[in-house]
């Protein structure tokens, strides 16, 4: 092979970006034209804000009673109906220095106040990026101040480093006679007065909590096998200070239904996938911010239409619980079977290979290892280490069929850090061949230890949950 992937990509990109490119004059000109406030802005680490995840905070749990009259406000979630619901009058907003905050909604019931707004025009390089991410406060007419008890903020992204946020913050319920409240905004924006009015007719959909009794099934689980003692760590202990109680997991990992709510034309089902620590690896379930792809079928096995309802998903404060919320339209032919076709389970293990390459190894010299290792139910043969022009290459191949997409690895040398790690895969008839090269500027020699970290992904499923509304079979 005469070229590396780097060479190919570099020359392909070179078709558009020539070696002669000179961007400094533009940068220099822009810097000299900068406005004063931009020059004095201290940049903030925006990295966290680039993670397009819901920044979940602690959220006060709401306890429901079966049969109690509730309400459902799409986009807000379940609300109590024992006192009149109050909402925001209009959609006021505020603006300063190109940053705009526009109220989307404010909902007050007897258990909570939900404040929803959108912030736009925030430069990812400015101080405001962190300020705007903070929770606002509510200032009441009597001078008291409410601080947020939870909620979340999601980044919308934007162009040219200009970001936006959708915020949904929770406060304790406002006093019943409150007619206006002041939002003390982040981003050093002016305070915003919010007027409350009774919720218009039809704003709240009547809802009743109904039993969430269910049966569940799960696939047979492959055993975790490894030749080494370094097993995948067990899931972290459940934090006792988390305000919500997780679903008990009497059946181990799998789908659990926590809540069922009946609306006039549909049912809301809220549940979770719990990784109870009995899987042959880690699911990192809570890292998912998008719904898993569920299927729902009726008693005849026919597909049932449903909606994802992220506004009903409780925050997950435990790394091993992923919540889901679905809305199923009436009428339905119960029982319903909710199926999660598969869940990715990751297993990794670390293997050390000490090799004495001598004081003066030569290019092309090979050291045979021929050691079998197992990770995640798959076997691999670590064949040899070869000294190439760029560095030491470790060759291994799978002994059991595995897709390249389900396997990856990392390698380091204990004695010396490599300047680069390059990797080549070949897949033939289900056999995966991997050459992992540690590239050194200054080639080490003598007693060397190659440390290999193998990672395998197994898709395990299906997981099912069966549920019927009251009075249905």
């Amino acid at each position: 092979m005469t070229k590396t992937y780097h060479d190919v990509l570099d020359s392909a990109a070179g078709l558009q970006i020539p070696d002669s490119i000179d961007l400094f004059p533009n940068v220099s000109a822009q810097l000299s034209q900068r406005k004063t406030f931009m020059q004095t802005m201290r940049a903030r680490p925006a990295l966290a804000l680039l993670i397009a995840v819901l920044a979940l905070l602690l959220l006060t749990g709401i306890v429901y009673a079966i049969g109690r009259s509730l309400g459902y406000i799409p986009g807000v979630g379940i609300v109590e109906q024992d006192t009149p619901i109050r909402v925001l009058d209009g959609k006021p907003g505020v603006q300063r220095d190109g940053i705009t905050l526009t109220m989307k909604q404010l909902v007050v019931d007897s258990s909570q106040t939900v404040v929803m707004y959108r912030t736009k025009g925030v430069s990812m390089w400015s101080d405001a990026v962190q300020e705007c991410a903070k929770a606002p406060s509510l200032l009441l007419e009597n001078g008291s101040r409410l601080e947020s008890t939870g909620g979340y903020r999601s980044e919308m992204g934007g162009e040219n480093g200009i970001l936006g946020f959708d915020a949904n913050f929770i406060f304790s319920p406002l006093p019943a006679d409150t007619q206006k409240v002041t939002l003390l905004t982040p981003c050093q924006l002016p305070a915003l007065t919010l007027h409350l009015v009774p919720a218009p007719e039809g704003f709240v959909l009547p809802a009743t909590e109904i039993p969430a009794t269910f049966d569940s099934s799960r696939p047979s689980l492959p055993a975790a096998t490894s030749f080494s003692d370094a097993q995948t760590p067990a899931p972290p202990a459940y934090p006792t200070d988390f305000p919500a109680t997780p679903t008990p997991v009497p059946h181990g990992s799998g789908l659990y239904l926590e809540k069922a709510v009946e609306l006039e034309k549909s049912y809301l089902l809220v549940g979770n996938f719990t990784d109870a620590g009995d899987l042959p690896g880690s699911t990192w379930a809570a890292q998912s911010v998008v719904p898993y792809e569920f299927h729902i079928t009726d008693r005849n096995g026919k597909p049932v239409s449903f909606f994802y309802r992220p506004d009903l998903m409780p925050p997950s404060g435990w790394a091993n619980v992923t919540y889901w919320a679905l809305e199923v339209l009436k009428p339905l032919d119960a029982p319903l079977t909710v199926t999660l076709p598969e869940m990715s389970v990751f297993t990794d293990d670390i293997f050390r290979f000490p090799v004495n390459v001598g004081a003066h190894p030569t290019i092309g010299q090979t050291w045979q290892l021929n050691q079998a290792v197992q990770v995640g139910g798959h076997s691999f043969l670590v064949e040899k280490i070869t000294l190439e022009e760029r560095g030491y290459t470790l060759a291994l191949r799978s002994l059991t069929p595995i897709s390249r997409e389900d396997f990856f690895l990392n390698m380091v040398m204990e004695e010396k850090s490599a300047s680069l790690l390059s990797e080549r895969f070949h897949e033939r008839d289900g056999v995966l061949e991997v050459n992992e090269t540690l590239v050194f500027d200054d080639l080490p020699s003598g007693e060397l230890t190659f440390v290999l970290n193998l990672f395998v992904e197994n898709s395990i499923g299906p997981w099912t949950l069966t549920w019927s509304p009251p009075g249905k079979p």
């Binding site: 092979m1 005469t2 070229k3 992937y5 780097h6 190919v8 990509l9 570099d10 020359s11 392909a12 990109a13 070179g14 078709l15 558009q16 970006i17 490119i21 000179d22 961007l23 533009n26 940068v27 220099s28 822009q30 810097l31 201290r42 940049a43 990295l47 680039l50 993670i51 990812m124 390089w125 992204g157 934007g158 162009e159 040219n160 480093g161 990192w284 890292q287 998912s288 998008v290 719904p291 898993y292 792809e293 239409s305 449903f306 909606f307 994802y308 679905l326 990715s344 990751f346 990794d348 997409e405 990856f408 690895l409 990392n410 680069l420 790690l421 390059s422 990797e423 990672f455 992904e457």
Partner: protein, 183 residues
């Protein structure tokens, strides 16, 4: 002028430091940005904005750390951010197609054929999602390890592939590119 000296100059407000850093790294940065954004103008904007940001926050930069990874990481983030609305997604086959093309291009010796394949590589790359492109660029152009990629993508080690495959499929579903439940 080495990186340390350039950073020292830049910290003192001397733009010659920035000029030296740009002269050394702008081609690699712009090509990485182009391979991710697939837009020459956007790629150049990304690199310019990144260097402006570096100028703004150079006082926070610890010169005991290497400059290039810091720059490249910033460029990758800025590139992804610049094309956040890009909704072009593809199947895994297209990623394999790209890698097959890379294999072919790497092994041929004919300059004419190589030039043709360069364009095919760009076309195949354009079929990938921005994040997939970013991973390809990190892995094969920037020679980053899976662990470095995980760090750059703000993912736990081992989730890179998950981000590539599972999250991509789910995101595609959310964007309505695939049949399934309604919303």
């Amino acid at each position: 002028m080495d990186d340390l000296e350039a950073i020292r100059l830049l910290k003192s407000g001397d733009l010659r430091g920035l000029e030296a850093l740009m002269e050394r790294y702008q081609v690699k940065a712009a090509r990485a940005a182009f391979l991710i954004t697939h837009d020459k103008a956007v790629a150049q904007d990304v690199v310019q904005e990144t260097f402006i940001r570096i100028h703004d926050r150079i006082h926070q930069f610890d010169p005991s750390y290497p400059f290039e990874p810091y720059l490249i990481r910033s460029v990758i983030h800025a590139s992804l951010n610049a094309i956040r609305g890009d909704r072009k997604f593809t199947s895994l086959d297209d990623q394999n197609e790209l890698e097959n093309l890379l294999d072919r291009a790497a092994s041929i010796e004919s300059q004419v054929e190589f030039t043709q394949l360069q364009q095919e590589v760009l076309n195949a790359l354009s079929k990938l999602s921005p994040r997939q492109r970013a991973v390809i660029v990190q892995r094969y152009y920037l020679d980053m390890s899976e662990w470095e990629m995980a760090l750059t993508l703000d993912a736990a080690p081992g989730t890179v592939k998950w981000l590539l495959n599972a999250a991509r499929d789910r995101l595609r579903h959310l964007l309505g590119q695939k049949g399934g439940p309604h919303d």
